[in-house]
């Protein structure tokens, strides 16, 4: 006599044989299982691609910013370094701070951006033609017969008066009005005047007359 509990179980087992999930359900479940594995296998690559994209983007942004900064540094004017070279502070200051430094932070310095400021800039400009002319007169050797006390002043005055034409009047040291050498006596002045008249150079002629007047106390021919 079998155990009644076992008989119930046996009968139940007999009922199991034909109750199975339909094939369509099997396919759906197995497809989902395969898709889930594929999704997970793709996940590291997606993460890697995302990370690479982020790194590349940051790198490009940094490069763009850095390039812009270099161009700005290269093209921006640096007034501080021009007016204050001796201190060395500007050289030690970072480029971006130099750029951002406001103009009022240098109250003792003139504003070189204005024409008026340029005239008082501490950097010594090249000596003007007038000054060079005066220097040339001061340094020239004196010829025989010239008054040591008056001649230099006269020459300086003539040279100063001729300042407007200084650029063309002084090709050589001490020689006025484009002459190779400075005339040392009345005959030389006259020869120079005649030469200018011969060439028809009215400008040089006028210059020589002024210079001769000053040099010879107005004794024009």
């Amino acid at each position: 006599m079998p155990d009644p509990d076992d008989r119930v179980s046996e009968i139940y087992q007999a009922s199991r044989q034909r109750l199975e999930p339909p094939g369509e359900l099997d396919r759906r479940i197995l497809d989902e299982a395969h898709r889930a594995v594929e999704r997970r296998q793709r996940l590291p690559y997606r993460s890697l691609a995302l990370a690479a994209t982020v790194v590349l983007g940051v790198g490009l942004a940094w490069l763009q910013l850095h390039t812009t900064q270099i161009v700005e540094d290269a093209t921006a004017p640096r007034p501080e370094s021009m007016v204050q070279p001796a201190t060395g502070d500007a050289d030690h200051m970072p480029a971006n701070k130099r750029r951002e430094a406001p103009a009022p932070s240098l109250p003792s310095l003139p504003d070189i951006r204005s024409p008026a400021g340029l005239s008082v800039a501490p950097v010594a400009p090249p000596p003007p033609a007038r000054q060079r002319q005066i220097d040339a007169v001061r340094s020239r050797p004196y010829a025989d017969g010239e008054a040591l006390t008056t001649a230099p002043e006269a020459d300086i005055s003539a040279a100063a008066e001729a300042g407007g034409d200084a650029e063309q009047a002084l090709p050589g040291p001490g020689a006025p009005c484009g002459l190779a050498t400075r005339p040392t006596d009345r005959a030389a002045w006259l020869a120079a005047l005649r030469d200018a008249e011969t060439r028809g150079d009215a400008e040089t002629l006028a210059c020589l007359r002024r210079a001769m007047r000053e040099a010879l106390d107005g004794a024009l021919p």
């Binding site: 009644p4 509990d5 009968i11 109750l19 199975e20 999930p21």
Partner: protein
Amino acid sequence: MQRYRDGDVQAFDDLYARYRGPVYRYIARLLGTGHDIDAVVQDCWFRVIHHRDSWSAAKPLRAWLFRIAHNLAVDVLRSSTRSPVDAVDNVSELPDNRRSIDHWQFIRDCVERLLKLLSELPAAQRNAFLLKEEAGLSLQQIAELSDVGRETVKSRLRYAIGSLRRGLEGCEHA
């Protein structure tokens, strides 16, 4: 399950081949007709797939799998007042190998009676019976899965089998 979690798709195919019938029958016979059995079974397996990381090797796979099936089926039962009427089995297709037609008919009658009796059992008793017969779980495992004590499960099973045995009178020699 561990192999499937590591990306071995074939491992899931093997696992599914082993448990597809028991899980399907457990849900189908616990719920009975009037429910979309296929949808519940699909939901159960999809949860297994998507929550495979929540399984640990320390847990028996069978218990973990049937806990998911149990929770889903109980949720469906709670949301429905319909009492299960077991007509999902195509009993007429039971195989007849070496036995005579009369004997086959006798067995078929007994199975039909068993399934009817099973569907008329209280859900808790039916659940305990199915977990024992389909999942092959121990009393302790059924107790843990059902969140009741082991003695309670033992009692439920005793009542369930007693009712079935009384209803199957005459089938002892089937």
